[in-house]
Amino acid sequence: MPEKTTTQHGASAATLGAGEKFSAYFRNHQMVAVESLAKLLSTPASSLLTWLVIAIALTLPGALYMAVNNLQQLSGHFEASGQMTVFLATDIRETDTNALRLKLGSLDQVNKVVYVSPEQALEEFKEYGGISEALSFLDENPLPAVLLVEPPLGIDKDELNVLVAQIKSFKHVDSVQVDMAWVERLLALLALAQRLVAVVGVLLALAIMLVVGNTIRLSIAARTEEIRVIKLVGGTNAYVRRPFLYTGFWYGAIGGILAWLMLGLCWILLQGPVADIAALYGADFYLQPLPFTPTCWLISSAALLGLLGSWWSVQRHLVAIEP
């Protein structure tokens, strides 16, 4: 078939121009990408199993992330209010109370001041069953008068602290309590939950790599003979590796998309009940779905994990196969 001894082999790979070589390389990538996906789709049962494992492994930290994200927004709601209760000295006179009330109301950082007399406080208390009987044993009302002070919405923490210190310094003020304790506790819990998301995420990322790596190992084993032949007729390691890397990539990417769909399903299922609960508490709150950027992160990191898992497997098993 070849015409001349000295140049015949040159006609194949060696004389391809640089541009031609590049386009051939690109074409091969494209072809392998499509073929490896088609191969996965042609065995839907076994591929789906791997995809579901990956999707579930991703849904778990994804759902945790979504929960934390929502609670953070919820805490933001309350942090902004920063309402405080100013307890007045028990021996305060009515004129002093009024003066203090006006003084507080005139402060820049105060929107509204509501006076609650000891009697009113007692009435409110009596509405709670059990306590009223206990209170009836007391001769006099033990409750102090209270001013409920509401700073403007969106006040930041530092301004709030300054305001509290200022109010504390006023005469006849016994103590000031900012209704923030539970918000702070929630924030601390959220920080913990965030850490948890990270830990669970890392562990499950490892699990995904192992799952993909093992799946790839099996398909390498099933194609040993093919790999030998390809290497025998001059396939480079990169060439042999390519389909397996793309397969790993598809496992990850499609697993990631499935995880996103599962999170969407969770959102659809929970959104209604959460809105109902929020309505019960009179809160203007609804469950946020996973935002766009984290969604991109979810899917691209899944694809990357698939790629890494297959890379790890390929490095270990493929290079050892020689004709």
Binding site: S12, N28, E226, V229, K231, V233, G235, T236, N237
Partner: protein, 228 residues
């Protein structure tokens, strides 16, 4: 084209498969490699493909010293050599066409050129009409010829074959050997390891004979040809 210089090969098992083998093949030459079973024929061919590396000595194929060839360049060396081995041969999960096209696919040949060359190669081995079939649907002799088509599709300068007529009947064997001498006639260097002494004698080509890892005849270019 091919030069072995005092080549020895000892396998990790301790078995010395080749000891001090030296010979040369000229461009466009065709030679047979014979010897008893276990004499080292397959080992010698594997050294030429860099499937094994010599323990001592040098193997030079088409100007490159295979012992010094960087690992990354080994595939490019293999693309220059057409090879027909008895084991790992055809892939039965793809068509005849795809089997033959494999070396071109790997080398990144354009689709149009691939189609043209595959058909030319299949035509050479007389299987042009069967490109769409699965190799499993073909007879042993036909499968052997697909292997040959795959070996020559990339227009290699050197063609090596390990017992290409292994379990074929004498008529088919002769046909296959004729095919190889056709390739020689268009300038390909051909080396064939075989047990089939009767066939080798009829072909009237140079004959390299191995015995217990030593080359006992044919290493000298002129005497080999004269002997045959």
């Amino acid at each position: 084209m091919v030069r072995f210089d005092r080549v020895s090969k000892r396998y990790s098992s301790g078995k010395e498969a080749l000891s001090g083998v030296s010979f040369e093949l000229e461009h466009g030459e065709m030679a047979f490699l014979t010897g008893h079973s276990g004499a080292g024929k397959s080992t010698l061919l594997k050294l030429m493909m860099r499937m094994e590396v010599p323990t001592r000595g040098e193997v030079v194929v088409d100007g490159s010293n295979l012992s010094r060839l960087r690992e990354g360049l080994v595939p490019y060396h293999r693309r220059k050599v057409g090879v027909v081995f008895q084991n790992h041969q055809l892939l039965f999960d793809r068509s005849v066409f795809e089997n033959v096209a494999l070396p071109l696919l790997i080398a990144g040949t354009s689709l149009k050129e691939t189609g043209r060359r595959v058909r030319a190669a299949l035509d050479k081995v007389g299987l042009l009409g069967k490109e769409k079939l699965n190799p499993i649907q073909l007879s042993g002799g036909e499968q052997q010829r697909i292997g040959i088509a795959r070996a020559v599709v990339n227009k290699p300068a050197l063609l090596i074959a390990d017992e290409p007529t292994g379990n074929l009947d004498p008529e088919l064997s002769a046909e296959i050997m004729n095919l190889f001498s056709h390739f020689q006639q268009v300038g390909v260097t051909v080396l064939i390891a075989t047990h089939d002494i009767a066939l080798v004698e009829r072909m009237n080509k140079r004959r390299l004979i191995l015995q217990n890892g030593q080359m006992i005849a044919g290493q000298d270019f002129n005497s080999g040809a004269a002997h045959a």
